[in-house]
Amino acid sequence: MESADTTMSPAATMAEGSTIRLAFRDFSMLIALLAIWAFFFWMSPAFLSPRNLSNLAVELSITAVLALGMLLIILPGEIDLSIGSGVGLFGGVAAVLIFNQNWPAWQAMGLAMVLAVLVWVGMGALIVKQNVPSFIITLAGLLVFRGLQWLVISNSTIPVQVGDRANLCSMLTTWFVPPVVGYGLVGLVLAIVVAGTGTSRRRRRKYGCAVEPAEAAFLKIFLAGQVLLLFVLVCNEYRGLPLSAVILGVTAAIVWLITQHTPFGRYLYAIGGNEEAAFISGIPVDRVVIAAFGIMGLLVALGGFMQTAYAGASTPTIGELQELDAIAACVIGGTSLKGGRGTVVGVLFGALIMASLLNGMTLLGVTPELKYIARGGVLALAVWMDVRLNRQGR
């Protein structure tokens, strides 16, 4: 559904050389993904079973939601190391309110979300107003939030569900959209994309701008529709489309709209590309960066609820290292750590690679030691590639 109008998207407007380079990069990422899938399928055919793919979809949703938030932080050239602990803290806050205090789940989650946004806005303000590097502030956050989480859950394990009664929070990863509704959703998404593309084409023609051939537009939507339908078909083989996949879809659509169609999104690219020029161009740099952190806070809370629900309980180690997965997903997806370059589609792709790796390794029963090494290796490899490609770009 990210296929509509990208002719003005910053990534698409690079000079020809870099377009080819980026295309090469996208292509090699696709090969890497297929290789990863082939490897895991060869080692364990269960990897591509509907049940495991459904699990993978849930894990992807969590990683990708956090990575999409991270995109908004990295675009203006900042970094956030605290989200893994944030996931633990705000998932823990919600779990404690639901299980210990018997709050309705929606109220507990609402409060945790508000708190998360406030905390992240506070960190953003410290970073831009006091000129403390984001690396340091969020590194402090990593420690502080983890400590707070242990205080909140009293170093124990707090389930998100009281007895057998499911609640909104636990349903985030355990509820599945009934098959018929799943197909209906595919139709709805396609209808929205077709309508959006049509409106955009009409307006462009009215202002006398170039419009891509109708055949090309149709083909893109058709292909996207096929992939979407295939995904829902596979999910329906198991228990249906996971609710968390729907949440990811909505989040991705909103972040895509923000980055490609709002002044705020443009400002993120502008600040990351050249902060001084952005300032002189009249961009309220401070407010934009703080707002990006605010959105990150919201997504951290959301990711926290999903991760906690997926684990079934808030545990002392939940969410650990997820900041690094999110950063790796961004970088694998072509986001520049220096800021100013990155797309939603790329990040989703990067998150899919990360989630596939972790899921496959768990499926094969790889020991935690090796998992750590593999995660670190992928992160280093992705950043090294980013640096290399940037250097060639100069």
Binding site: M8, Y207, H261, R266, G273, F279, I280, G282
Partner: protein, 514 residues
């Protein structure tokens, strides 16, 4: 130059080309043993380029012509090579570590060692010996951060001399110094001359130059115009040599009717955000609709700071009042200034003006996205149309709006910056060196644009280091001198000599009020 003194250092017919510009067009220059040789010239005359060649910053092979040291050809591959040959440069930005002591700084990078460890007593002793030898009254143990700028400069000079430098190049050494510090520095430079050190001295302050130099070479437009003995010349003669540029009919200024005052500045004083001192002192002027106000002055006179401050991007206001279209404009932020109709095209377009990795369209629309957004969404079709119209109006030569700005020529990049600010529909346009580094054709197009703006009733403030451009395009000219107004001239009153004299602070308080 018939005297039979062998020069210690000689530059012969140096030609230095940059992409699109010839910075030096055959400069010749010679330095004798034990003399102070001053280099004078307007901004952009080629002084800094020449220094960079003499100090190895522009390596041999990147220019034409030859350098001769002690009668032998000299090929400098870099700054380190120049230092080995005994040539050292003291720049305006000092290469010292503020947290270290005087002694540590002097020995930095060449610490005497004993058993692989730094021999601290030797460091102290070396500094003490050198300071005494050059009669510099500083303690080796003093922390550098506690010293004044002038004293720090002395440390830098002593450090250079400790490397057996026989030739010292001083670039504007007195620019940041107070009166008494200047006296100390000049005395020490005189001492060094006695000891046979040769000095190249660059300064805008002609009084100083006449007081200390033995000979003076004037550069203009990348050429060495003349070399005179300091005793045999006057300030007036130097200024005449510096400014004698041709004014061609390159400047198609058409005066537009003068309308309401658009920007009024009264008694403006601004504090430097880092250094603390007053950078701008008691500045008052007005610009009217349909008028071009030229703003001139030497490097460091405060022209850029004045524009940046009014735009809300620099400095803290300590006194004064600013009115835009009759309404007070108290210390704005750039977004506020733009919303009120005040825009700035900065002098350094690659750093402050453009997002080089982004497309032409991205850059053009950046400042005016609010105007084409509804319900938080950018109307991209409308955006595309506006971008196309403005790039056609400004004749931006690019293969399309999707082309990366960094790939365009300087002139076209500048047009993109202009397009960006004009899309905000401003009332007052600040142009800081708008034609720097662009070719003649693009220059004329920018002059025509200035005419069009004033005919539409917009007001323009034009900063330029090129006097002919300033005189050719301005209806009125304000010269700044060390953060103050050095003189104000109508188009008719302005001559290159009077403007340059005002920029040098020669006739403070004179000139007409417009």
């Amino acid at each position: 130059m018939g005297e039979m003194v062998t020069p210690i250092l000689e530059a012969r017919k140096i030609v230095k080309r940059f992409p699109g510009v010839v910075a030096l067009k055959g400069v010749s220059f010679d330095l004798r043993p034990g003399e102070i040789h001053a280099l004078c010239g307007e901004n952009g005359a080629g002084k800094s380029t020449l220094i960079k060649i003499l100090s190895g910053l522009h390596a041999c092979g990147s220019y034409e012509g030859e350098l001769v040291l002690h009668g032998r050809p000299l090929a400098l591959e870099g700054v380190a090579a120049a230092e080995r040959q005994g040539i050292a440069v003291i720049c305006q930005e000092l290469a010292l570590v503020p947290q270290m002591t005087v002694a540590e700084n002097i020995s930095l990078g060449r610490e005497p060692r004993r058993l692989g460890m730094i021999d601290w007593p030797a460091v102290q002793a070396r500094a003490g010996r050198l300071l005494k030898q050059f009669a510099v009254d500083l303690s080796p143990g003093a922390c550098l951060a506690g010293l004044g700028v002038g004293q720090q400069q002395l440390v830098e000079i002593v450090k250079a001399l400790s490397k057996e430098s026989r030739i010292l190049i001083l670039d504007e050494p007195t620019a940041a110094l107070a009166e008494h510090e200047v006296r100390v520095l000049l005395r020490i430079l005189g001492d060094l001359r006695q000891r046979g050190v040769s000095l190249i001295y660059i300064s805008h302050k002609l009084d100083e130059v006449l007081a200390i130099a033995d000979r003076i070479t004037v550069l203009r437009d990348g050429q060495s115009i003349t070399t005179v003995a300091a005793k045999a010349t006057t300030k007036a003669e130097l200024i005449r040599h510096m400014v004698g540029r041709e004014i061609t009919d390159l400047y198609p200024r058409r005066e537009a009717g003068r309308g309401q005052p658009m920007l009024e500045v009264e008694g403006l004083s601004v504090r430097h955000p880092q250094q603390g001192g007053l950078r701008l002192k008691g500045i008052s002027f007005r610009v009217h609709a349909g008028e071009v106000l030229g703003l001139g002055g030497l490097m460091g006179a405060g022209r850029t700071e004045l524009l940046m401050h009014l735009f809300g991007a620099w400095g803290r206001r300590v006194a004064g009042e600013v009115r835009l279209k009759g309404q007070p404009l108290p210390d704005p932020t750039p977004p506020q200034a733009i919303r009120r109709g005040l825009v700035l095209v900065t002098e350094d377009r690659r750093r402050y003006g453009l997002h080089l990795d982004q497309s032409v369209g991205f850059n053009l629309a950046l400042s005016s996205l609010g105007r084409i957004s509804h319900a938080w969404m950018i109307d991209q079709a409308h955006e595309h149309q506006r971008n196309r119209e403005i790039s056609q109006a400004l004749r931006v030569k690019a293969a399309g709006l999707d082309i990366r700005v960094g790939t365009l020529s300087g002139g076209n990049q500048q047009k993109v910056v202009l397009g960006k600010v004009l899309l905000t529909e401003p009332a007052v346009v600040f142009l800081d060196e708008p034609t720097r580094g662009i070719d003649v054709g693009a220059k004329v197009e920018i002059y025509e644009l200035i005419n069009r703006l004033t005919q539409q009733g917009q007001a323009v403030v034009l900063v330029s280091s090129e006097l002919p451009e300033l005189m050719g395009m301005s209806d009125r000219i304000l010269m700044l001198h060390e953060g103050m107004i050095g003189g104000e001239f109508t188009r008719a009153q302005a001559t290159q000599e009077t403007l340059m004299a005002a920029a040098m602070g020669e006739n403070k308080g004179q000139g007409a009020r417009g």
